[in-house]
């Protein structure tokens, strides 16, 4: 009756990408794979999780060790289709509370390559849904996954794990948001056609920027880029004239010389009536004069500044992750209590069974001895009376046990343990 949670899998730390890819489940075949998983007699419930950074099987089984061996061969089977090689050194196995903790950590994005990234929770939900539709989810995994979703939510709201930007372009976006209260009425000028600048301009567009000016030393390139990004191309020699319209300026050229010096920006600023400007310098060499940052209402960040902020934010995330681990631990314990409380239901049945056995034994003995010769009616009366007695006697303890079973407290576990000992229910 008692089931255990088992997780067997590999992630970005335990296995190189080739190995992970070799066992990864293609989306379209997850359903088939679940059916195949379920066909192992030792596995009672199962969910498959397959993302670029991890392949895992979460299962419920009455014998965790047997199940983990089964899952390993299940994964190896998957692999055999592509190419051979030993999986064992790349695979980890978690049983019981360790498995619960692992899943909670995955859901809360503590096990991710970039700690705190938000995608994993969505992926987890998708794979859970697939398994549920395939009918391979039972009470235990149902409860486990739903709990893991709420743990993830709790971690997200109670810690700052995901609150800070870590990629260079999202750091730049974050900074832009600290300077400007809205982006949809701002104009962006992109100087140069570097990949990084492209990426950053796109991120700004995704966040509302509508007016994008693109300039490049070769005008054709600017036109092409502007077309692709729904911007306006500007001739390179003209860009200083348009600068006063730009609130954000992204420099991304490989030019060895400085494109804008502090005096040029000062003039532009005066024309703009000192409205704030944000310069982002992500060229191979410095595109903008670093003294620009000393001007009032102007902010200049180069690629190194952005990287520094990003590293600080990562550090901050790591600190927050410590807090998150505490939350996970707490939740694992409370989940453990819930699993143990499941055992109360068999305890109640066993208790009733035991009392009933005693009752029947005694009635039989009496009917064969001192009460010999009772009429059928009288026999039935004795039967009813003793049954009612047992019922009345057990009513209190049963109700108490059932009520307590709903809350995950230590007290109810104590009662279960006491009952088992006092009435010798363990042998069942």
């Amino acid at each position: 009756m008692h089931k255990e949670i088992v997780i067997v899998g590999m992630n970005h730390r335990s296995a190189p990408i080739e190995v992970r890819e070799s066992v990864a489940f293609e989306e379209a075949y997850v359903n088939d794979a679940l059916t195949r998983l379920r066909s192992y007699p030792t596995i009672e419930e199962g969910v498959i999780l397959s993302t670029c950074n991890r392949v895992e099987v979460v299962a419920a089984a009455s014998d965790g060790r047997l199940a983990s061996t089964a899952i390993k061969s299940f994964l190896a089977d998957q692999k055999a289709r592509r190419h051979a090689g030993d999986l064992d050194e790349h695979v980890y196995t978690y049983l019981g509370p360790d498995a619960v903790r692992h899943l909670f950590r995955v859901a809360a994005s503590l096990d991710s390559m970039v700690v705190g990234e938000p995608q994993i929770l969505g992926q987890l939900k998708e794979y859970y849904d697939v398994a549920q539709k395939a009918g391979t989810v039972g009470t235990l995994l149902h409860r486990l996954f739903h709990r893991s979703f709420s743990v993830a939510k709790r971690v997200r709201t109670e810690t700052g794990i995901a609150s800070r930007a870590v990629s260079v372009s999202s750091v730049a976006l974050d900074l832009a948001r600290r300077i400007f209260d809205r982006l949809d009425d701002k104009a962006v000028m992109l100087i140069g056609a570097g990949k990084m600048g492209d990426l950053m301009a796109r991120q700004l567009q995704n966040n509302g920027v509508q007016n994008l000016m693109v300039t490049n030393r070769t005008f054709e390139r600017a036109v092409e880029l502007a077309e692709r990004m729904r911007g306006n191309p500007i001739r390179f020699e003209d860009f200083p004239r348009y600068l006063k319209m730009a609130d954000l300026v992204i420099g991304c050229t490989g030019a060895p010389d400085v494109l804008l010096d502090v005096h040029a920006v000062e003039r532009v600023l005066k024309e703009r009536k000192y409205k704030a400007m944000f310069f982002i310098d992500i060229g191979d060499r410095r595109n903008f004069d670093s003294r620009i940052n000393d001007l009032d209402n102007v902010y200049l960040y180069n690629i190194d500044d952005l990287k520094t902020v990003s590293e600080e934010n990562l550090q901050e995330r790591a600190n927050e992750a410590q807090k998150a681990e505490g939350i996970v631990l707490e939740e694992v314990q409370s989940f453990g209590r819930w699993i143990e409380s499941l055992e109360q239901v068999p305890t109640i049945t066993a208790l009733r069974q035991r009392f009933d056995d005693i009752r029947r034994g005694e009635i039989e003995k009496s009917l064969a001895g001192s009460l010999k010769g009772l009429s059928e009616e009288q026999k039935k009366a004795v039967e009813d009376m003793t049954a009612a007695m047992i019922n009345k006697m057990l009513h209190g303890p049963t109700a108490h046990l059932k009520n307590n079973g709903r809350s995950d407290d230590d007290e109810s576990l104590l009662y279960v343990a006491a009952l088992k000992k006092l009435f010798n229910l363990e042998e069942k």
Binding site: G160, D181, K273
Partner: protein
């Protein structure tokens, strides 16, 4: 009863201040998010205290330090709460709430309460003049808080150093615009406050302008804020400089309010010949 209510208000302001400061560090906890509501509760007690005092005494003796500070503080909290409704800038409360607490405590510590209102002041002009002048200054107090937050945010952006305590600071543009809005509201109110006071002085003492220290100080502050507003509208004065000047203006007002009357006793300080 009114003193008892004011003490209660001070206590709630203390709780609100603590809650707002918690908000700076962990803006997501359920209590810190409700900081403006805590402040609002304090404001209700504060309002009740003023109302009780008014009904018991029949007037508010704003020529006395205690009542003046109490009324001013009340208007400042009201101004903040209005700004909060429209802009949702909870961080501002981290400055306003402690300021409200300090003012209320100062009212108890240095205030001499319970004096009779001189007959010259028992007129409808008094509440009008004082309310307008105080409202203008209350707007500047909120502008002071806005400017302080602006300068902190600006400093961080220039230094390129961020701490978790900065997480919920609003955008510079938002703060600068709000600073301007408060100036646009505060300046005409202050002007009306000076005009009504002067008209009343003319009616009572036959002299519209008597060059007494408070009037001179108010005139200077009025010119200062006028120049600031003018600069903002015509010369592109904005951002850091505007924030600094706003703070300077408020310090002058606050300084005069706190020590000016003690140094230069005058009608405003309770001397009525």
């Amino acid at each position: 009863m009114d003193v008892w209510l004011l003490k209660l208000a001070a206590l709630v302001y203390l709780i609100a201040a603590a809650s707002f400061i918690t908000y700076l560090f962990s803006p997501n906890t359920s209590i810190s998010k409700r900081s403006p509501w805590i402040l609002f509760v304090g404001f209700l007690f504060h309002s009740a205290a003023l109302a009780a005092h008014f009904f018991l005494a029949g007037y508010l003796n704003v020529a006395q330090f205690r009542e003046a500070v109490t009324v001013y503080c009340w208007l400042m909290v009201a101004s903040y709460l209005i700004v909060q409704i429209k802009y949702h800038l909870t961080v501002l409360g981290a400055i306003i709430a402690p300021l409200a607490l300090l003012m209320t405590l100062a009212a108890f510590a240095f205030g001499r309460g319970g004096e009779q209102l001189p007959p010259a002041l028992q007129t409808y002009w008094l509440p009008v003049h004082v309310t307008l002048a105080f409202l203008g200054n209350a707007a500047f107090a909120v502008a002071f808080a806005v400017s302080l937050i602006y300068l902190l945010q600006e400093h961080k952006l220039k230094q390129k150093k961020f701490t978790s305590f900065m997480k919920r600071f609003p955008a510079l543009e938002t703060l600068d615009r709000l600073n301007y809005v408060l100036l646009v509201w505060g300046f005409p109110l202050m002007t009306l406050g000076i005009v009504t006071g002067s008209l009343w002085a003319g009616a009572h003492w036959g002299q519209y302008w008597s060059w007494e220290p408070r009037q001179i100080a108010s005139g200077l502050v009025w010119m200062f804020y006028g120049a600031l507003l003018h600069g903002r509208i015509t010369a592109g004065l904005r951002g850091k400089k505007a924030a600094l000047l706003t703070m300077v203006g408020f310090f002058v007002v606050l300084g005069y309010f706190l020590i000016g009357d003690a140094l230069f006793p005058s009608r405003h300080g309770g001397k009525f010949e």
